[in-house]
């Protein structure tokens, strides 16, 4: 047990950390309820839902609805691809194959290469090939360079702890490799697969640097917000921040509740 002074110091440090972490989000959330005549800063000029209403009306600058749709669609595509590919790759990497080490390092390297360079590279390549960059092609690929290595690393951790005798037992009882995957492997690792999906979704949802130079003409939400910060001077931005934070919490909360229900059904 640390002494009195140490505890005070540690407490203060923790308090500062919490303030640093959640202070900005909290400030923006409070300011998004600014009255109709209020500005971008304190003091609050009344309390209203005015800016949330404005969010869904046509903006002078930017098209939030379309950006939001693009972002959600892209996130869904990235999530699905990440889950399928990292699951398959995780299964493949359980045994050594020719070039497995090289492939692994190549995959993980894209976590280390600065995001903006990845983005620039993909943008340039599309330019050279005279393809039209778009959120569903070039930005999709750029985001995958970010989410796939993460998914694969999680899969490695999962299969490290996976007892191979489960599969042997399934095989012993006459399961084909496909049956063994479907009825044994997949249900056992399901929670981790959900984890990868959540991870992929969140990484994609607020991805910025890799999307910046690859999104083409249709902005994703983070890009649209960046564009708006320079021109829009109303708390409608804050309302947007509050809404997207709420969406994130809803997705994570939904996944947690879903997992708990699944576990309850299994009676753990």
């Amino acid at each position: 047990m640390p002494g009195r002074v140490a505890r005070l110091l540690l407490g203060a440090l923790f308090g500062a950390f919490m303030l640093f972490l959640y202070g900005p989000t909290l400030t923006i959330t409070i300011l998004s309820f600014q009255g109709p005549d209020g500005g971008l800063t304190f003091p609050m000029n009344g309390v209203s839902l005015h800016w949330f209403g404005r969010l869904f009306q046509p903006q002078a600058v930017g098209d939030l609805g379309a950006a939001m749709t693009r972002t959600l669609l892209l996130a869904a595509m990235v999530t699905a691809t990440t889950v399928v590919v990292s699951l398959a790759a995780g299964m493949a990497f359980r045994r050594r194959f020719a070039g497995s080490t090289v492939l692994f390092y190549l995959t993980v390297a894209s976590l280390i290469v600065p995001s903006l360079l990845v983005s620039l590279g993909i943008g340039l390549m599309f330019n050279l090939m005279e393809w039209e960059p778009a959120w569903y092609s070039s930005a999709f690929g750029a985001q995958l360079t970010w989410t796939l290595p993460f998914g694969l690393l999680i899969m490695f951790a999962v299969f490290n702890r996976f007892d191979r005798s489960w599969e042997e037992a399934a095989r012993d009882m006459g399961a084909t490799p496909w049956q063994s995957f479907w009825h044994v492997v997949l249900p056992i690792i399901a929670p981790s697969v959900v984890g990868i999906a959540l991870f992929g979704f969140t990484l994609s949802f607020d991805e910025f640097a890799r999307t910046l130079l690859t999104a083409g003409s249709g902005n994703t939400l983070p890009l649209e917000i960046l564009g708006m910060t320079t021109t829009v001077t109303t708390p409608v931005l804050y309302a947007l921040g509050t809404v997207s934070t709420a969406v994130s919490f809803l997705v994570i909360g939904g996944a947690l509740i879903g997992m708990r229900l699944m576990r309850k059904r299994r009676g753990i």
Partner: protein, 328 residues
């Protein structure tokens, strides 16, 4: 009589290392066979090759006269119970047992009813809806047993099935395994490193060492006539002593002790005395440097007790000295 399981010069190599070195063995029908030996002797590799979970480097395996060397586990008519049980954590006890039938496309009501029967066979009918995590070690093992048996194997393979249980449960499960084997009338092949377990269970015990079979015989024969010094030492309860006329295995419970200097027998000095209830174990350092022990009935010991450091001689009846070959 045709053997249920026959191994013909079966060899397993891992790269340059030889795990199983050309072993041949015939196991008679409906017998309880224990593969016994220290770790690394090749017993588990042998079991896994019979199960079809390990490829065979050379040789053949015949089950009921049929060559199964290249067949998948399910085509062999074997079932395996894994050391860690390998119960599927996401399925209930009943669903675990029904798994084999499910893979064969048996309908749900039918397979669950059948699984219920096997759950009764292992006396766990109240635990049908429990998940493996909610079962004790002994219960998990019974589920694993039922799950292996439901496919109606001709040979049941058990990989160290009792090693994870506490001593009390181990004894109980041992009786149960033997009862099941008798009632089902099929062959059980059971891998263990415990000689006590092998003695208690087997009709035929196979003692293995360095990938070879040191001796395969009924346990009584192994105990009374060990084929080598290794077998005598591994099976326990023997002194392996070199005399002028050669090497002998002498049962420690047939050895007796004559306290004092110059008494008849091999002279030595007591180095340890262990009280074990019905018997007392006395360890001797013989004058010629060999070590030996005598397990004496408690009444005999207390009639003439010895303490570490005392002089004593070790003796035995001539017919109790079992000659051993020189090599091993």
């Amino acid at each position: 009589m045709r053997a249920d399981v026959e191994l013909i010069s079966v060899t397993k190599r891992y790269g340059a290392a030889i795990a199983v070195d050309g072993i041949s063995l015939a196991i008679p029908p409906a017998s309880y066979c224990c593969l016994l030996g220290p770790s690394g002797c090749g017993k588990t590799s042998t079991l896994r090759m019979i199960a079809g979970h390990e490829s065979i480097s050379a040789g053949d395996i015949l089950l009921a006269g049929r060559n199964v060397t290249d067949l998948a586990p399910v085509e062999r008519g074997t079932a395996m119970m894994f050391q860690s049980y390998a119960l599927f954590p996401h399925l209930t006890a009943l669903e675990n047992i029904a798994f084999g039938l499910r893979m064969r496309g048996v309908g749900k009501p039918e397979r669950l009813a059948k699984a219920g029967e096997y759950l009764r066979l292992v006396q766990l009918e109240k635990m049908a809806d429990r998940l493996p995590a909610q079962l004790s070690g002994g219960q998990q093992q019974r589920v694993a047993l039922a799950r292996a048996l439901i496919t109606r194997p001709k040979v049941l393979l058990l990989d160290e099935p009792l090693s994870a249980l506490d001593p009390f449960l181990r004894g109980q499960m041992r009786e149960e395994l033997k009862r099941l084997q008798r009632e089902l009338g099929i062959t059980f092949i059971h891998v263990t490193h415990g000689q006590e377990e092998a003695m208690a269970l087997s009709d035929i015990a196979v003692v293995m060492d360095h990938g070879r079979i040191a001796q395969a015989a009924p346990p009584r024969e192994i105990f009374e006539r060990p084929a080598s010094a290794f077998v005598a030492r591994f099976i326990g309860g023997h002194n392996v002593i070199r005399l002028d006329s050669g090497r002998y295995a002498i049962r420690t419970d047939r050895s007796w002790l004559a306290p004092g200097e110059g008494t008849p027998g091999l002279p030595g000095r007591v180095t340890a005395v262990e009280y074990q209830g019905p018997v007392v174990r006395v360890v001797l350092a013989l004058a010629d440097g060999q070590s030996a022990e005598a397990v004496l009935p408690d009444a005999h010991y207390h009639a003439a007790p010895v303490a570490p450091g005392d002089a004593a001689s070790l003796g035995w009846e001539a017919q109790d000295a079992h000659p051993l070959p020189e090599d091993a």
